[in-house]
Assembly symmetry: C2
Homo-oligomer: 607 residues x 2
């Protein structure tokens, strides 16, 4: 499979990939720098506009200087950092039985990723989780990378822009959102406290370090993956690359179809962001889709299989307890979580407690050897407005809190999954209860959707809830695409979902007053007011669409420098008029003189 | 111009236009009834699902029994109600000088609407505003129509659905949102208090009565209109019909190009919803776009011209005072309101106070004769996140409060326009200050946009702010289309904007606990859980898109009855599994028996 040409990798307009050096460690932190045009003042003076650096999740794909061969995978930037810690061993072969079977199945040769690497695992008795290091007081290269990355070179933002902070500063619901720059020590302390996690499997050294915690930029996840309806491996790789291009901070591979082991390998080897999965999906495939045939042994082998491929977090529905299931019987939409319904079915059939719950400590033992984080699944999340915040949902949340403390005892990183479908006035209660029951472990929600009546637009019904819960303190938002409830997302849907969620996440960052957020709004608004159309396009989340929409009505190049647009036309352009007003008002004179002066300057303007 | 075929008028799928009779008055209230399929229970029983009645803004265009001829305009349903009040006179000719000139210009004959009606005006000394009647204790047909319309036949909703109210009820920020049905007397009392308005020009009897107030369903406005970039009259009429079809409660005609007098006539005669305008735009055209040449006389004639055509509310920027203008000088985006910048320019040039402010009582005298409502414009609204909630904005808001009381003194209806660009944490302050300064007059906001960085997606950046401020008590939301800041919206943009804002408005209704809102979510979620795909499509805001997205992956008709979809496939369908779980759990038995029974029922299911 040699299809680079099918993989999106054009750089963003007027943007350069830059790499900022670390101080504590020999690291190079990737960012995107957007160059801006000068401002031509009405008095003829020229004002330089500093370039704007933005957080960049697109990885090497947008760096023309890096050669990409998806058959070989991305550069393994973290490999040396991991080896330098001297606490891992390279295995001679993969440990999972299933993995071995797939490896030795010749029918799969042409599907299989060619350049397989030997898996790494913690040396006997060692714990390689970032939480473990953080508790030891160690600032890892990953932590320094994150500190530099979150700051986005704030120091470059000139005073004028710094001065442009909106009134009232913003009121974070985080415990102590830094009002200035984020330090590597702050990253360490948040991880040590369990308030933030670094999804960072040692077997995915291609991934660029990122953090999920409410005192950092709000992150978003994009789900990809094929289902019974077939879609090719290459399509899934491109979908992942595409999602990262537009801003996905992590990718969940939810494949449930054929060859998901091989598909996952291709995705991980080519993903610059951490990958999450729901292992129970693959386990179910292994028992031909019969939930009651699931066993701890099959599940355990699946965890090891995926951990050694490099999955950085596992959604595990260990909170779906036998005694909670009847609480869903009177719901309008029952159990809508796939994993939740699978485990509920298993529990009822065997009338036994959920084996993910009874084997939880063994799961911790496995995960700490690879630094896989828990994404404790909300298997009983509400699937409709009417089911929101009910007894089943909150009973499970309390159990997830109990499991959080067990995971922390093992120094395994944890975040908590949340709903779902919740009307606006009931969203904050979800955040408050999660912080309380789960002792501030990061929250990771799907939406929530704020109404059920708009299938086809659920990226929007959920963007409302996502922005609000992000403001309230949710650390990561799982995107919803326009196809939610209706079908499998295609590339357009993935982009729509990602851009929509970048909007929600950024709106939340603004509301929290994150220092690394508002300067981009200010730079774009300044460009807009000064009719620097190209800068306005280039500073936006989706330059292609902004430009395309503008050109629909005014395609001529001249229009890119015109001091008006098709919305109002020249006579009605408020921006143009208020630029004139400013020219007057700025002159420190009495109103009387001002109006006089205006007549003159006005004359000029119209000559 | 005979282009009915170009006008959208197909009924919605499985929907019937129904008319509910009034009790106090001989009125017929139009609604849309969606018929649903039966529920087939797993035990073989059949459960009927009552039809769902929804608020319908599409007018006669979706009633196949009504003949439409846009050259003649819509049926004048309110004409008799108005005449019966005996307080209006039919004028022998239109009063405005400009209107007469256009009427006698033969070059316009082919553009002109053929079947012109003589304008109506209050008899000398009379006041025909709904506010005047309300204060007299009169319940008008308009008020009864609104009460019936807002209730959407709640009585039909069966107990089961009524029982399905989400926990905690919802917490309205309104003074006293009715938890049960809305009565005509409640409508009257809210109007009399000034807390709600009925945009309802006596010269637009084709429009169906609707109300704007925070104790009623949240309404949305769609802006249409051509600009310097030409677009034909017929396109504008279809744009209006199209916007109403998808849910616009009012339409603002913001035309600034040629023939706006004639365009407006065509739009009003064919609009089932009230029309609003910004008269200063046309006044500026009359002085060839030179703001400083504007005069009270030109503006006055424009008000009368538009009032006699049937415009139901005027945006008037009377709060842009000379002394406030310098407050915008240091803004990043100055003055972004077209009307605001025009008036600011006039004030500075002449160094005189805004003539809309100095002539405010004369404006009231004109408006009360036709029942035109004030939409007090926020000429100094912020155009960027950094300018939000600043001194200029709030100074103007206080003046709007002062003007509100003057309008009320004349029994002229008023609502207040609001921003704009506001980060989430600063939105509530806008609502609180507006309620305080404007004594609870309805608030009508544009968005607000919660970030500046997503041109091309501002329907979404603003849908977040719109939903929140709607929840906080904003009565009407002015839509924003994807083309905002970039170009003129086309039909697709208009639909995207309207659907997006219906989502925000409905999410707000749910959060406020409006009795006439959640039943639709419940009905759709129940259909979804029961795999009644057709019902799910038909109950959604946009049945066409929902169906189209579903069929992209599963086009076969069989898939419409399949108990799974392409997202998860049959094995992973949580809905299917939890239906099985419910079948078990519902049987009142001990868990042990349940699991036993499950094995059996399970066998059946898989046979």
């Amino acid at each position: 499979m040699n299809n680079e040409e099918k993989i999106s990798r054009t750089p963003f307009p007027n943007s350069t990939k830059i790499y900022v050096d670390g101080i504590l460690h020999p690291i190079k932190v990737a960012m995107r720098e957007i160059a801006l045009a000068d401002t031509k003042m009405s008095n003829g003076r020229i004002e330089k506009n500093p370039p704007v650096t933005v957080y960049d999740t697109s990885g090497p794909f947008t760096d023309p200087n890096i050669e990409i061969d998806i058959r070989k995978g991305l550069p393994r930037i973290r490999e040396q950092w991991i080896l330098d810690r001297n606490d891992v061993e390279e295995l001679t072969e993969i440990s999972s039985e299933y993995g071995k079977k797939r490896l030795n199945d010749e029918k799969l040769n042409e599907l299989r990723f060619e350049y397989l690497h030997k898996p790494m695992r913690a040396k006997k008795g060692a714990n390689v989780s970032q939480l473990y290091y953080a508790k030891q007081g160690i600032i890892t290269p990953e932590m320094e990378y994150i500190a530099i990355r979150e700051n986005q070179r704030l120091e470059l933002i000139n005073d004028q822009t710094k001065a442009m902070q909106c009134q009232h500063g913003g009121n974070s619901f985080g415990a102590n959102t830094p009002k200035s720059k984020i330090t590597p020590e702050f990253v360490r302390s948040e991880v040590a406290r369990g308030r933030a996690i670094i999804p960072n499997n040692i077997n995915h050294p291609e991934s660029e370090p990122m953090i999920v915690g409410r005192n950092f930029l709000v992150k978003i996840n994009a789900n990809i993956g094929n289902s019974a309806v077939t879609s090719t491996i290459e399509e899934e790789v491109e979908k992942a690359v595409w999602a990262c291009r537009w801003g996905a901070d992590t990718i969940m591979d939810l494949s449930t179809g054929k060859n998901i082991h091989e598909t996952r390998e291709w995705i991980i080897r080519n993903s610059p962001v951490p990958i999450g999965t729901v292992p129970i999906y693959q386990a179910l495939e292994k028992v031909n889709g019969v939930a009651e045939d699931l066993t701890w042994e099959v599940f355990r082998d699946t965890l090891i299989e995926q951990a050694e491929q490099g999955v950085s977090y596992f959604t595990i529905h260990a909170g779906v307890l036998l005694r909670y299931i009847h609480l869903t019987a009177d719901r309008v939409t029952g159990i809508v979580s796939r994993g939740g319904s699978i485990m509920a079915k298993w529990c009822l059939f065997h009338h036994k407690e959920n084996f993910l719950y009874t084997h939880f400590e063994e799961i911790c033992e496995i995960m700490k050897q690879y630094d896989v984080a828990f994404s404790l699944g909300d298997g009983l999340r509400p699937g409709s407005i009417v089911d929101a915040n009910d007894a089943a949902q909150f009973a499970e949340l309390e159990t997830l809190g109990e499991l959080t403390k067990i995971a922390w005892k093992h120094d395994v990183q944890v975040f908590i999954e949340g709903p779902g479908h919740v009307p606006m006035h009931m969203i904050k209660e979800n955040m408050d209860k999660q912080l309380e029951h789960c002792d501030e472990a990061p929250f990771y929600t799907l939406g929530p959707l704020t109404t059920d009546i708009a299938p086809g637009y659920d990226h929007i019904t959920s963007a409302i809830g996502a922005a609000m819960i992000g403001w309230y303190g949710c650390a990561m938002l799982c995107y919803v695409t326009p196809k939610e409830h209706l079908g499998l997302p295609n590339k357009k849907d993935v982009k729509d979902g990602v851009i929509t969620y970048k909007i929600s996440a950024h709106a939340a960052d603004l509301a929290k007053g994150h220092p690394g957020s508002q300067y981009r709004d200010n730079a774009l608004s300044k460009a807009r007011f000064e009719f620097r159309w190209e800068d306005q396009f280039n500073l936006s989340l989706d330059p292609d669409t902004a430009r395309e929409f503008h050109d629909e009505t005014l395609p001529a190049d001249g229009a890119k420098v015109a001091h008006f647009c098709s919305m109002c036309g020249p006579k009605f352009c408020s921006m143009k008029i208020s630029q004139e007003i400013r020219d007057v008002a700025e002159a420190e004179k009495g109103m009387q003189e001002k109006s006089q002066e205006f007549v003159e300057s006005g004359k000029e303007i119209y000559s």
